[in-house]
């Protein structure tokens, strides 16, 4: 197929504005799947995606579309909307010439709308604004248009008005894709230059790459060369998803598809690599993508300490398909052997944890997430620490630096006061504040990342009745006045509960942390004392009285089975706990250490 009949586009939007549902309708209307085969958000194939109703991984589908009696191949990439997955969006955009910028007409422009739109502008894409959910009574098309113009600065005179739910306006989308998005440039006979936009590990086939062919073409049997390391592989299979997997003989210039080439190690061809032909190589490679840097770190430990190797294997497998996940073995006094893992954000951390539990059937404990701290020691050495319990002795520290981010918040103006107070409380510094429409405001603040990853999102949502949205970008390390908060259970320090906190908030946080712990530590057969200290000084205490009685119900007519089942149930409950010394602690305690206390 010549490139004039190919279009490559992504669907981008703020979370939940309807990207995956639009993708559904496009697939359905062009006959990619029959009605019987359709289900909601059909491209969200991971269990976690279906469970949470969100997209985590970008998915590519080739749509066949006939317009004016000419057949087109439209390569569509559905992307995630959540702030944690911006990297995924950015990669998808580099395979495209255009995108649909979807905006929910009942919500208007939100933080990730802006963030993703800017990514599209950076990539020089043709942006087609799509106003979705016009079926809803609260849809305000005009206001949404104005916000798009004011906040992003793109023309909305030809914005499309659709309802993905009710299949209204989908045809206008298809037509606009063909008419407005430029066809891919590139020469079929030039030397092959293909960009790896995604790669994942398939248990049966080895590594599968999603590629975008920018120059030349690729056939089965071709010997390909990975430009970063010179390794050569033979192409075994080429194909596209329609969304059913469909094997094809050749990937033409301008198109997007997958490649299987007997690559066993995913590190041999990382996302962002350039693929060319061995016998007629391209001269230069693409710049590639910056490796995504984890923002938050947490310890992940098997609840059953015997399962360390299983956890290692599970994390290894997940890492194959998640370039952003970092894994370092570590040991904790309280939790035994486990891993310090780096994630793009708290959502991706939770998702990773869930996948370990669901897909690998392992029970794990995750510690409370923390950021990287940069420590300047008195001997002028500088170290980064990923685990708060490893903070050096105070007398060896000359300064602690922590990562700051720029947050961008969009909120109805009535909540601005609340939100500014929250940002102040979170140690933020105002950068900018503008109205994007009469009653909606864009606030920019510089704030420590550690404040964002705890309960910031929950508080923002509750202070704005759910209306505010936010996005953040790394700003840099800044010096802060921080100290280590140590938690003790029955006088023993619990390293996995240590955290680094701003001095000004230490007392309050110590009290909150112990209150939270108290909630997650059930009564034991003995009294449990909780203490929090900074610099060797106890600053908060709590106590959990000993369990006094069980129900000694009548064992009636020899119903031993019932009796035993009760005990077994109780035992199961205990198994879900983590034993710290002789104290059983509910696993939630670790991760919810810094809970949204309504302080």
């Amino acid at each position: 197929m010549d490139t004039k009949h190919i279009r490559n586009f992504s669907i981008i939007a703020h979370i939940d504005h309807g990207k995956s549902t639009i993708a559904d309708r496009i697939i359905e209307n062009t006959g990619g799947l029959s009605k019987r085969e359709m289900k909601e958000q059909v491209l969200d194939s991971l269990d976690v995606e279906r469970k949470h109703g969100i997209t985590v991984k970008a998915q590519t589908v080739r749509i066949e579309y006939t317009h004016n009696n000419e057949k087109y191949y439209l390569n569509m990439i559905d992307t995630p909307g959540h702030v944690d997955f911006g990297y995924e969006v950015s990669r998808s955009l580099s395979a495209c010439e255009g995108c649909l910028l979807v905006v929910d007409a009942t919500q208007g422009v939100e933080a990730q709308t802006i963030a993703n739109a800017y990514l599209a502008i950076e990539h020089n894409l043709e942006i087609i604004p799509v106003i979705n959910k016009i079926d809803l009574p609260s849809a305000d098309i005009e206001k949404t248009k104005h916000e798009i113009e004011d906040a992003i600065g793109i023309d909305t005179s030809s914005a499309l008005k659709v309802s993905a739910k009710q299949n209204i306006g989908i045809d206008t989308i298809l037509e606009a894709i063909v008419k407005r998005i430029p066809y891919p440039k590139g020469n079929d006979t030039a030397r092959l230059k293909a960009l790896v936009v995604d790669s994942w590990y398939d248990n049966y086939r080895g590594v599968v790459f999603a590629v975008r062919i920018f120059e030349g073409s690729l056939k089965r049997g071709d010997k390909i060369k990975i430009m970063s390391n010179g390794k050569v592989f033979e192409v075994e299979e080429l194909g596209v998803y329609t969304p059913k997997q469909k094997i094809i003989e050749k990937l033409d210039v301008g198109s997007v598809g997958y490649v299987i080439a007997n690559v066993k190690n995913i590190k041999d061809a990382l996302i962002g690599d350039t693929i060319t032909l061995e016998n007629n190589p391209s001269e230069e490679a693409f710049e590639g993508f910056k490796k995504p840097k984890p923002f938050v770190y947490a310890g992940i430990y098997p609840t059953d300490t015997d399962k360390y190797e299983d956890l290692k294997e599970a994390l290894g497998k997940l890492q194959l398909n998640d370039a952003s996940l970092t894994i370092e073995p570590e040991k904790s006094d309280s939790l035994g052997f486990g891993f310090r893992c780096g994630f793009l954000g708290v959502l991706s951390m939770n998702i990773t944890k869930e996948r370990i539990e669901d897909e690998f059937n392992l029970d794990v404990v995750a510690t409370s997430p923390s950021v990287v701290y940069r420590i300047e020691k008195t001997n002028s050495e500088v170290i980064d620490i990923y685990n708060p319990s490893l903070l050096p002795e105070p007398q060896k520290i000359s300064g602690i630096y922590e990562p700051f981010v720029i947050v961008e918040i969009i909120t109805p103006s009535e909540f601005v006061g609340n939100i500014l107070r929250l940002l102040q409380d979170k140690r933020g510094n105002q950068k900018n504040m503008t109205y994007i429409s009469q009653d909606r405001v864009l606030i920019k603040y510089s704030i420590p990342l550690s404040e964002v990853i705890t309960d910031f999102y929950d508080k923002l949502k509750s202070l704005s009745k759910g209306y505010a949205s936010f996005d953040y970008n790394f700003e840099g390390f800044k010096k802060s006045d921080l100290t280590k908060l140590v938690v003790m259970i029955n006088s023993k320090e619990v390293d996995s509960f240590s955290m680094i906190v701003p001095k000004e908030k230490a007392y309050r946080m110590a009290r909150d942390v112990l209150k939270t712990l108290k909630k997650y530590i059930p009564k034991q057969l003995f009294e449990v004392r909780l203490q929090a200290k900074i610099n060797g000084k106890i600053i908060a205490k709590e106590q959990i009285g000993a369990l006094r009685k069980d129900v000694l119900a009548k064992c009636y007519g020899g119903d031993i089975t019932r009796k035993r089942k009760l005990l077994e149930k109780q035992k199961k409950g205990k198994k879900r706990m983590k034993q710290i010394g002789s104290v059983a602690v509910s696993k939630e305690a670790f991760i919810k250490l810094i809970e949204a206390n309504n302080s």
């Binding site: 069980d550 000694l552 119900a553 009548k554 007519g557 020899g558 119903d559 031993i560 077994e568 035992k571």
Partner: protein, 375 residues
């Protein structure tokens, strides 16, 4: 032990359903009594064993509410069909209102030699809250009558958990102990879902003891009874020397027992099973010569060993390490190494004279939390 079997017969009728009761008993189904007894006889007749019957226990419900002849027929049937030991323990649970001279006389004449009186309390306030149909005076009289008729093996049920003061507890124990009774079962009031009580407690209509109060009550009761010559031989049971309930011990010691009647549980040749919970189904199934068993359970060796350990631990004398190891071809101290270490260190389990047991009332009162580590 291999040669013995213990019989339980369930009589699922009551005068009036007590608001806290979650047992299988019905107040408005008396019309089914004669059919039920026919079915019971059928079930008993169709059970085959060459083991010797050690005990017969009529439990409920309220077995004292049915005609004594019905009970008599059952006992006769058992004697006719099975080998019965020379001095069996034959118990009937009796509601204090039924414990009148004439009734007691006739049950004694049919061979019943142990009577378990559902006294529950000697305090009117408690009996009223519990919705019992008798009062404190009847509680005392029922014991007096049983003694007068000549029963020497009387057990009394007492319930606690209704905000008793220490002097009220003392009053309960002294009221029972003024009579020459041999056995006391104590029950912690447990508020089960799906009972009328549950709602009343939830709505604050009834106040029940708090965790600490119940624990203190339990420990205090044990202390008082021990001072009065009772042995605390099982978590909820106290007895004078030689008057432990042979029937109940069979449950803990893992002997074969066979329960007849609706919802009754059995343990025969290593298999646990129990009958359907619904009277009508039970009667109908028997009529149609179908099995009444609703649940069956065959435990693996390991599981039944663990179950046996947990059951034995309910007894004050606990687990005899040598006997246990021989019976289960195991090394119990190795199987439970971590658990035993943990609880011995905390002082909840003791190992003494080759026996492992719960360490006194402080430990019995939290026995579920301990024993759940052993199942």
């Amino acid at each position: 032990m291999g040669e013995s079997v213990y019989f339980y017969i369930h009589i699922p009728y009551c005068y009036k359903k007590c608001p806290y009761c979650s047992f299988v008993s019905y107040e408005k189904k008396l019309s089914t009594v004669s059919d039920y007894f026919k079915a019971l006889q059928n079930e008993i007749s169709s059970f085959e064993t060459d083991k010797t019957v050690e005990t017969i226990y009529f439990g409920g419900g309220t077995p004292s509410l049915v005609n004594v002849e019905q009970i008599d027929k059952i006992i006769n049937l058992i004697y006719k069909k099975f080998k019965v030991i020379k001095l069996p323990e034959i118990t009937i649970e009796t509601n204090p209102v039924d414990a009148k001279y004439k009734f007691l006389k006739s049950i004694k004449s049919i061979g019943i030699n142990r009577i378990s009186l559902g006294v529950q309390s000697f305090i009117d306030r408690k009996l009223r809250t519990l919705g019992r149909i008798h009062n404190a005076k009847i509680s005392s009289e029922s014991i007096k009558n049983a003694l007068n008729v000549g029963f020497d093996n009387i057990s009394v049920d007492l319930i606690y958990g209704l905000k008793e003061t220490p002097s009220e507890i003392e009053y309960e124990i002294n009221s029972a102990n003024q009579f020459d009774i041999r056995h006391i079962s104590t029950y912690m009031l447990s508020v089960e879902k799906k009972t009328a009580f549950y709602e009343m407690v939830k709505n604050g209509k009834i106040e029940i003891s708090k965790e600490d109060e119940v624990a203190d009550a339990y420990i205090y009761i044990a202390e008082l009874l021990k001072n009065r010559g009772f042995e605390h031989y099982e978590i909820s049971n106290f007895a004078k020397k030689d008057f432990e309930s042979r029937h109940n011990n069979a449950y803990w010691l893992g002997y074969d027992y066979r329960g007849f009647g609706v919802s009754a549980s059995s343990f025969v040749n290593g298999e646990r099973f129990s009958n359907t919970d619904a009277i009508e189904d039970y009667i109908k199934l028997i009529k149609n010569k179908k099995s009444t068993i609703k649940h069956r359970e065959n435990l693996s060796n390991l599981k039944s060993m663990k179950e046996s350990f947990v059951l034995l631990m309910r007894l004050a004398k606990g687990v005899d390490i040598n006997l246990f190891n021989k019976k289960y071809k195991t090394d119990v101290e190795r199987v439970y190494k971590d658990e035993l270490e943990h609880f011995i260190k905390l002082g909840f389990i003791k190992k003494e004279n080759g026996k492992i047991s719960l360490n006194g009332e402080q430990s019995m009162v939290v026995s579920n939390s301990i024993l759940s580590d052993f199942v």
